[in-house]
């Protein structure tokens, strides 16, 4: 049982790209791979890439499954802000760490449940359904922090952001744990299969008896949970919650990571590890641009370039090999392989 559904050959572009970006960084900055141990924690540019890439990687894990069902979750940035706001505020008010963590995660779960119900039960398009929380979520986060940048001093919560476990920074550890748990959840159960089936053909899946609403709600709930963990990490790292800026625009980075990781925006086969690799590719480029002395602003253009290249690579494949029922292809370009029946395809 593999974590990434497509065969190993299909993963090559992602790993190749990651390798190429890392190589370029090394050429520009020979110390790139240098890792040193200091105060029981690893330091170095490579570790930095992993550490800073953790929030987007976490979002990408949840987003991957949402995208696999042919959906998208625009609210993850706002959910991060909510979870961070709750954690910082509660910690400031003297709550214990377990209570704080439980409350933050529960908030993420509720947000995911809200999105999932809108999509699965009310049948609102995912982009629109999650737009509501994207707009209102940040307001809710500010409501929690009462518009302030809430800071805290609790070393217990800060440990999640800046501590380390067996010399590995906590954000990296948490990402690995979430990745492992998610992979276990979808691949050791039949959930992964059902997510892919629903994403590829919702009608067929429902006809085979798959409980499509439950599958849809489940992926949005999990995505909300992942976002809550990412929000906790960011808050713990800066020892405070900035409801205005926490997770701002990270939903777009997460979508980008998933797309770079090779999961199609049209749903279907997904690779969790590949999405994390996608997040690392993006982060390595960020770091590389920083190290090579360019303005960090170049990031955006490079990101856009990568996005376009990946999409262009996917585009002909998608239109040629994967005929979609709702395909908006020009009439008459793709002829049915057999004589059309008068009962079947209507124009």
């Amino acid at each position: 049982m593999t974590l990434s559904a497509p065969g190993p050959a299909r993963n090559l572009p992602q790993y190749g790209a990651l390798f190429a970006v890392l190589l370029a960084n090394w050429l520009l900055f020979p110390d790139f791979f240098a890792i040193r141990l200091q105060d029981g924690r690893l330091f170095g540019s490579l570790i930095d890439v992993l550490n800073r890439g953790a929030p987007v990687a976490l979002l990408a894990i949840g987003m991957t499954m949402v995208i696999a069902t042919r959906g998208v979750d625009l609210s993850v940035g706002a959910v991060m802000a909510i979870s961070g706001a709750i954690a910082a505020t509660m910690t400031g008010a003297g709550w214990s760490l377990p209570a704080v963590l439980a409350a933050s995660l529960a908030a993420g779960l509720l947000c995911g449940l809200w999105n999932g119900l809108l999509v699965a039960v009310l049948r609102i398009q995912p982009i629109i359904a999650t737009l509501i929380l994207m707009v209102a979520g940040r307001g809710i986060a500010q409501l929690v922090t009462e518009g302030q940048i809430v800071t805290f001093t609790s070393p217990a919560l800060a440990f999640i952001g800046s501590g380390s476990f067996l010399t590995v920074p906590m954000p990296v550890v948490l990402t690995i744990v979430v990745l492992a748990v998610t992979a276990l959840l979808v691949r050791a159960t039949a959930l992964g299969l059902m997510i892919e089936a629903v994403g590829i053909n919702r009608l067929s899946s429902a006809g085979a008896g798959v409980n499509t609403p439950v599958v849809l709600v489940a992926v949005y709930v999990w995505c909300g949970l992942c976002a809550a963990v990412a929000g906790l990490i960011v808050t713990a790292d800066i020892r405070g919650a900035d409801a205005n800026n926490a997770g701002l625009w990270l939903e777009l980075d997460a979508i980008l990571a998933v797309v770079v990781g090779g999961t199609s925006l049209l749903g279907g086969r997904f690779g969790l590890v590949l999405s994390v690799v996608g997040a690392l590719i993006i982060q390595s480029m960020n770091t590389g641009i920083l190290l090579s002395g360019f303005k960090p602003e170049f990031n955006l253009i490079v990101k856009a370039g990568v996005l376009l290249v990946v999409l262009l690579l996917q585009s002909p494949t998608l239109t040629l090999f994967l005929p979609r029922p709702k395909g908006a292809r020009p009439i008459g370009t793709v002829k049915p392989p057999v004589a059309p029946t008068s009962g079947g395809a209507k124009p």
Binding site: I128, A136, L265, L300, I301, K303, A304
Partner: protein, 328 residues
């Protein structure tokens, strides 16, 4: 005329929300119901309104444009660099900015049509590119000190009864009027609605799909460029981080204004009202003084939810009359 009533129901509800909202404000704050407040409402939201008109057209055609905020930001930077660093006169700079913004939008429309890519992702890339280009020009906030800017800002249309409309407000009102004409009195407008209703049927009925797609994203870019000019007048500066999140505000205004996000149904006037509702909420909170700014976002989120539900309900009612077959 129950038919007309039903058709305009989203628009009527939106307008009622605005009127009731204004009345509530007026009863709570004695000096709220003044022409000055109205004029400020129009001026402060002018760039948003202009952008939202372009977004309405894109959404009516069944697409979405996430790049508008970035295009506004880029336009302000381009203007600042051309005028302050390049020593250009603002008028040719305006022309260049409009051409650049419109061309950028049209290019995205071309990519969407030719490669059959989802508009959401293409315009997302466009957003990155436009912001990135802005950053490349300059990351600083560059003040624009050309005398023409001062003159333009002092320009206003005064009415005897006390209303004073600034240039941005006038521009927005002009754009809205022109957009209504474009939507309902031109073939391009009809083609947009057709495209948003059903792309295949539209094609079968002879709508030039490719040309219309390129044109509508070009128009959205052009209007975002115009909004950028207004924004630079309003703030007197060019800054590449300007107008972040405007794409979200405009989409929200479009939905609150009664336009279906799936395309094909809606009115430009509704979007205009949607922009004013957002502005009104902000003004209310400013007047109140004790309420915090985040209530704006929450209130807008609730409005968004209510209007999406309303649309969903209306579609179900229409479908129940034998319109479209219900999908499993």
């Amino acid at each position: 005329m129950t038919g007309a009533l039903q058709r305009f129901l989203p628009l009527i509800v939106t307008t009622a929300v605005l009127v009731v909202g204004f009345l509530i404000c007026a009863t709570q704050f004695p000096n709220f119901a003044s022409w000055r407040v109205v004029a400020n409402l129009l001026t402060d939201n002018a760039f948003l309104g202009i952008t939202a008109v372009g977004m309405t057209f894109v959404i009516l055609s069944g697409g979405i444009d996430l790049s508008v905020g970035a295009v506004i930001g880029f336009t302000t930077v381009l203007l600042a660099v051309l005028i302050e660093h390049g020593g250009w006169h603002p008028v040719p700079a305006f022309a260049v900015a409009l051409i650049a913004a419109g061309g950028f939008g049209a290019a995205m429309g071309g990519v969407i049509h030719v490669f059959q890519m989802p508009p959401f992702i293409v315009t997302l890339a466009g957003m990155f590119i436009a912001r990135g280009l802005g950053f490349v020009l300059t990351t600083d906030s560059v003040p624009i000190n050309h005398p023409l800017y001062g003159e333009l800002n002092d320009m206003a249309l005064r009415f005897d009864f006390g209303l004073k409309l600034s240039l941005p407000a006038l521009l927005m009102l002009g754009v809205v009027v022109a957009a209504v004409v474009l939507a309902h009195w031109t073939r391009f407008g009809a083609n947009l609605y057709a495209l948003g209703g059903n792309r295949q049927s539209a094609e079968l009925m002879g709508v030039p799909v490719g040309r219309t797609t390129v044109a509508v994203y070009g128009l959205s870019g052009l209007l975002a460029g115009l909004a950028g000019i207004v924004f630079s007048l309003y703030t007197g500066a060019g800054y590449s981080l300007a107008a972040t999140g405007v794409e979200l505000d405009t989409i929200t205004a479009v939905v609150i204004g009664g336009t279906q996000l799936t395309g094909g149904y809606g009115y430009v006037v509704g979007t205009f009202v949607g922009v004013l509702i957002q502005g009104l909420i902000q003004t209310y909170i400013t007047f109140d003084g004790t309420l915090s700014s985040w209530w704006t976002k929450i209130a807008i989120g609730v409005l968004l939810f209510v209007f999406i539900l309303l649309q969903k309900g209306l579609l179900v009612v229409w479908a129940g009359r034998g319109g479209e077959p219900a999908e499993a």
